[in-house]
Amino acid sequence: MKPLLNVENLSVWFPKKVSFFGKPLTWIKAVNGVTFQLKAGETLGLVGESGSGKSTTGYAIMRALNPREGKIEFCPDGDTVYDLASMDQKELRPIRKHFQLIFQDPFSSLNPRMTVRDLIAEPLKVSGQGTHKEHTERVKELMAEVGLNPAFLNRYPHAFSGGQRQRIVIARALTLNPKLIICDEAVSALDVSVQAQILNLLMELKEKHNLAYIFIGHDLEVVRHIADRVAVMYAGRLVEDGSAEDVLTHSLHPYTQSLLATAPRPDPHFVYENKPLSGEVPNPAALPSGCVFHPRCPVAKDCCSEKVPQHTQLDGKSVRCLMHEEDSKHNWDESFSLAETIQDD
């Protein structure tokens, strides 16, 4: 069966400086050559530091942003493939119902002047199907499904807690039976106990409706919990992806390894072996040459500032690092151990 989503070589740039004639002179290279696939019913965790291009990738897939280049092949029924990247907004309209977005902030993403009923029914109303009464029935059904009391139909969002508002947002996303939901930091602003409730709900809904998620998050433990696959982004590039377990326990890329080494664990007995990465994420308007990670990489060699790493398939993962490329791996001695190097520093 065809994958639900096949993203190939996706790049998204924003103009930074524009000439007198409106022609961009310099670019913010937010996303560069991102490639991955997503099957129906699968959850892909997208992680990386702030500004690494996670949201931009998500918005470009939904065509809330225009990609600079690349393919976004979307196959909602397992048969017909649409290249979202090359379609205009009018052509996209009938396909939009198959994908939805859930934001981080349940406070700002709900119009405070609309009742819960109208908020959840809005996508139906826009699509023009069904009667008012049918909409109300569907809203009640959805409210029950996400754990809200359908009797609160006519209340306004301010009468709900943060967790309940996120449930409203989820109900609204489900209205049109989507195949793909992009969750952009959907639980990040919630308290731990509420976060656990929402994660349970998302996992339950996924099973029930065979939903696929792109779950954007910065908490590696949360992503490990919910994702089947994990993709790690750094400065607009996807540096590693594979099964969640593989990437988060046997990572190959020095950036993923550094992230994992410093991420705090809720376990007082966990022993941290490495020092945190120094420095900060590069400015996407002035990306480093070669491997974008080389200025911070604890094991970088001379070749890293010269050559851009390509995807290498290794141990079931796809990794972009010269240390793992046939042509350049001789620069790293056989006996060499990454963990020791990071420790000594």
Binding site: S161, D191, S193, L199, R224, D267, Y272, E280
Partner: protein
């Protein structure tokens, strides 16, 4: 050094903070008691709205009307030999309080962008603090400011001294806040969610820095956070708050390994990656935290507690007391009344 040998820097006894608003009184803090020692990090954890920030604002004399500290004592011990000073015995705008706040007692706020002035050079902002709290001359202050910037990991300090806060990244701004907070060698630092919203790698750098400086200056640190992973990694002792009160306090390992209070237990079960959490479906706490105007009688956690003893927990608030040699908790499972109640039911 054992806890007993270490000098107590701050002792808070039964602090309560009320806000009288048009809709009623909000009991933001309902009786909080704790101690912080030198070279110790006490983490205060709890969900949004439970009173973590307000209880520390009380210490700093930063509660604004209509809010008011309605009871309690806040004893500050500058060093082993000096007599404790009750910060509530003087007006929060008095010269004494002004000289302590920002000097011996310092705070880092959650939002570095709003805490830093956008119209003053960052060097000048450190200079202001030094002017108030030290008797260094102009050249001495410049030198000290540059030293502090270097210490917190800002390269080119002499050049950066003349820049504005918007010219720095979020992580850098938080470092500058730390430089300002620490430039007068405080005895106690209150850090209110100092890394929330920062990237893990930047967070790790900032936490490392606070740990180093804590040791170096023998400083007590109150670390406010809702992130239990950060607590497990960094704290020495932990106080868990629920609805304006501390419900449990213990050293870090004890708290995570042997939580006593039903709320702490439930909380740890819902934290992904904690040894108590399950792999698939997470155990969650039923219901939600009561709103600020809701009145809950008895133990504030009783409506959500799986051990609630009807007739006691919903009537009488349990005292916060030692429940074994390592832990203090506020729960009727450990009070005399609770034991009697159970016997009489049996």
């Amino acid at each position: 050094m054992t806890e007993k040998d270490r000098h107590v820097v701050l002792e808070i006894k039964d602090i309560a903070v009320d806000y009288k608003t048009d809709h009623g009184t909000v009991h933001a803090v309902r009786g909080v008691t704790y101690k912080v020692h030198a070279d110790e990090m006490l983490a205060i954890v709890g969900e949004s709205g439970c009173g973590k920030s307000q209880s520390s604002y009380a210490t700093m004399g930063l509660i604004q009307a209509p809010g008011e500290v309605v009871r309690g004592e806040i004893l500050f011990h500058e060093d082993e030999s000096s007599a404790p000073f009750n910060l509530l015995s003087v007006d929060k705008n008095s010269p004494e309080m002004r000289s302590i706040r920002g000097g011996k007692l310092s705070m880092i706020f959650q939002e570095p962008m709003t805490a830093l002035s956008p119209v003053h050079k960052i060097g000048k902002q450190i200079d202001e603090a030094l002017k108030i709290h030290t008797d260094l001359d102009k050249a001495g202050r410049f030198k000290r400011a540059c030293e502090m910037l270097t210490l917190v990991g800002i390269p080119d300090a002499e050049k950066r001294y003349h820049q504005y806060s918007f010219e720095f990244s979020g992580g850098m701004r938080q470092r500058i806040m730390i430089a300002i907070a620490l430039c007068c060698n405080p005895k106690l630092l209150i850090a209110d969610e100092p890394t929330t919203g920062l990237d893990v790698t930047i967070q790790a750098q900032i936490l490392d820095l606070i740990q180093d400086l804590k040791k170096k200056f023998n400083m007590g640190v109150i670390f406010i956070t809702h992130d239990l992973a950060v607590v497990a990694q960094n704290a020495d002792r932990v106080a868990v708050m629920y609805l304006g009160r501390i419900v449990e306090e213990a050293d870090k390992v004890t708290l995570f390994d042997e939580p006593q209070h039903p709320y702490t237990q439930a909380l740890l079960r819902s934290v992904i990656g904690s040894p108590l959490a399950s792999d698939g479906k997470l155990k969650t706490i039923e219901g939600s935290v009561p709103g600020p105007y809701d009145v809950v009688e008895g133990c504030a956690f009783h409506p959500r507690c799986e051990h609630c003893m009807h007739g006691l927990c919903d009537k009488k608030m349990p005292d916060f007391e030692q429940v074994n040699d390592k832990t203090k908790a506020a729960c009727h499972l450990f009070t005399e009344e609770g034991k009697h109640h159970k016997e009489s039911q049996a």
